[in-house]
Amino acid sequence: MSFPWANHYAPKHSLTKWLDERLPLPRLVYNAVGAGYPVPRNLNYFWNFGVLSGAALGIQIVTGIILAMHYAANAGVAFDSVEHIMRDVNSGWMLRYAHATGASFFFIVVYLHIFRGLFYGSYKAPREMVWLLGLVIFLLMMATAFMGYVLPWGQMSFWGAKVITGLFSAIPVVGTPIQTWLLGGFAPDNAALNRFFSLHYLLPFVIAGVIVLHIWALHIPGSSNPTGIEVKGPQDTVPFHPYYTAKDGFGLGVFLILYCLVLFYAPNYLGHPDNYIPANPLSTPAHIVPEWYFWPFYAILRAFTVDFILPAKLWGVLAMFGSILLLFFLPWLDKSPVRSGNYRPAFKKFFWLLVIDVLILGYCGGSPAEEPFVMISQLAAAYYFAHFLIILPIVSRMERPLPLPNSITEAVLEGKSGATLSTSTQG
């Protein structure tokens, strides 16, 4: 693990020496996120988002544990207990808004983290396991966020639970029994609310565990960098601490400013007003939408309207899960030996098309299920799959990449560190 020139942990104080011989925890931290971890010297600000994701998880765990001290997971009182948090509990409004806004910001930084990985080819060998574990974290996040949104037991909570568990009823033969099993009843009720609360409390700690594996897998080859070329010697790296702790600290400050702006000035902007109406099993809100971070996937789910061999509903569900499972195969779909998009002129153009495509899917997913949004999401969903299954394998085979610098240091000294996310073909 790590490079031979990494700084070595040498405790000076007798107490730290005593501890190092019995439980070398400071040594572990020093080697993982301290001066003992050499990192490429040319990382740009896109490399901040891993640390920011970790910080967002930290905010969610702290605010979540406190909210659980005041919340009651019972269908009869859940809605009122959330209002009790908002009105009666000291600073309760702030903690709840911090948790709700925190979920959105967690997804914002994670999406940017994934964006970074996609553009700079961070998923390629030897870092496939880092990518795969990241996707596991993403799936766990989605499950956690969904179950958390059910807890306030408002209209959107209730109907969200109904629609999402309804996805499983699309499975032939065993679908409806599975839905009943997941809900512990024939519709969302107390049993469902209780188990969602239990799992919503558990999963963040599972995520924290997978993050440990994610970082462990990352530290075997070490961090990638904007040029995508390997570290060749000590001149290519700087110690994580103090160089990147400082840079990440700056990024964290910017993140917290933006987070607080939304938290204190527009806490409900990313939410939905219907969720302030208590759950009513007899009346569906006119326009059910999930939270914004699920919109692209929701658009893919709704894109299938015609039965073709299988029922349209099953196609929608398969395509939605498929759109994420597809990413697990990405390291083997993109065969280009060049990692960074900065040196791949054709890839770069298609990459930006994909980004636009996902934004269009997101917009359609948040819109009502009517024309022209249905047709646009059909085209956009088709392009999404075409990008990964057709365009990417062909581009990675046909493309002639730009010449790579000889080393990270050379790139830095020539001012072509790849640190900018350039849109020109000059790299």
Partner: protein
């Protein structure tokens, strides 16, 4: 040392046949595995509907107050149940359709009980993703086929609550029910 080599059972190191230790190994692991699987069963089964949820799985509905052309929403298994008193025109409209042209081919007869064709009793749960369709309440949109309309993803049902348009794969579910008298039905 020589004595130790002879403590093994005869045939153990000959290489053919089942070794005693392998057998014990497999037997022990299988036993523990079967035990673990047995313990897993209640851990999975506890998530199924509990007895109090199942206890609410049967209801009686009084039909005497529902006028022709009217419909009511009630609750069956914590889900909405639509009870609709069809008009003669609505029955005619449903009968006019050729069932073979439908996505989920069924006639109105198959969806009601004999002698009570005017009583259409269905779940108020869209077969797409489980929203409550509109059309049972006073003044709600009934959709272009005069039955029910689901606002979530635009599924349209006709006067026999059969799927006619939109993403839903099936007709609205008809629960098991029986007439206890001319005006009382037991559902479930």
């Amino acid at each position: 040392m020589a004595t130790l080599e002879h403590t093994d059972m005869p045939g153990e190191d000959t290489g053919d046949g089942v070794r005693r230790r392998d057998f014990i190994n497999i037997a022990a692991v299988s036993f523990a595995g079967a035990g673990a699987a047995t313990v897993l069963l209640p851990l999975i089964n506890q998530m199924n509907p509990s007895a109090d949820v199942l206890a609410l799985a049967s209801i009686e509905v009084d039909l005497s107050a529902i006028k022709e052309g009217q419909a009511i929403k009630t609750i069956f298994r914590k889900q909405p149940l639509f009870v609709r008193h069809l008009t003669a025109a609505e029955i005619a409209a449903a009968d006019k359709v050729d069932p073979s042209s439908l996505r989920d081919p069924q006639t109105l007869e198959q969806r009601t009980v004999g002698g009570h064709k005017q009583w259409l009793i269905t779940m108020g749960v869209c077969t797409h993703l489980g929203c409550v369709p509109l059309g049972a309440g006073e003044g709600e949109i009934k959709g272009e086929f005069g039955g029910y309309f689901c606002p979530c993803h635009g599924s349209v049902y006709d006067t026999a609550a059969r799927i006619r348009k939109g993403p839903a794969p099936k007709n609205l579910e008809v629960p098991k029910y029986a007439f206890k008298s001319d005006t009382v039905v037991q559902v479930g």
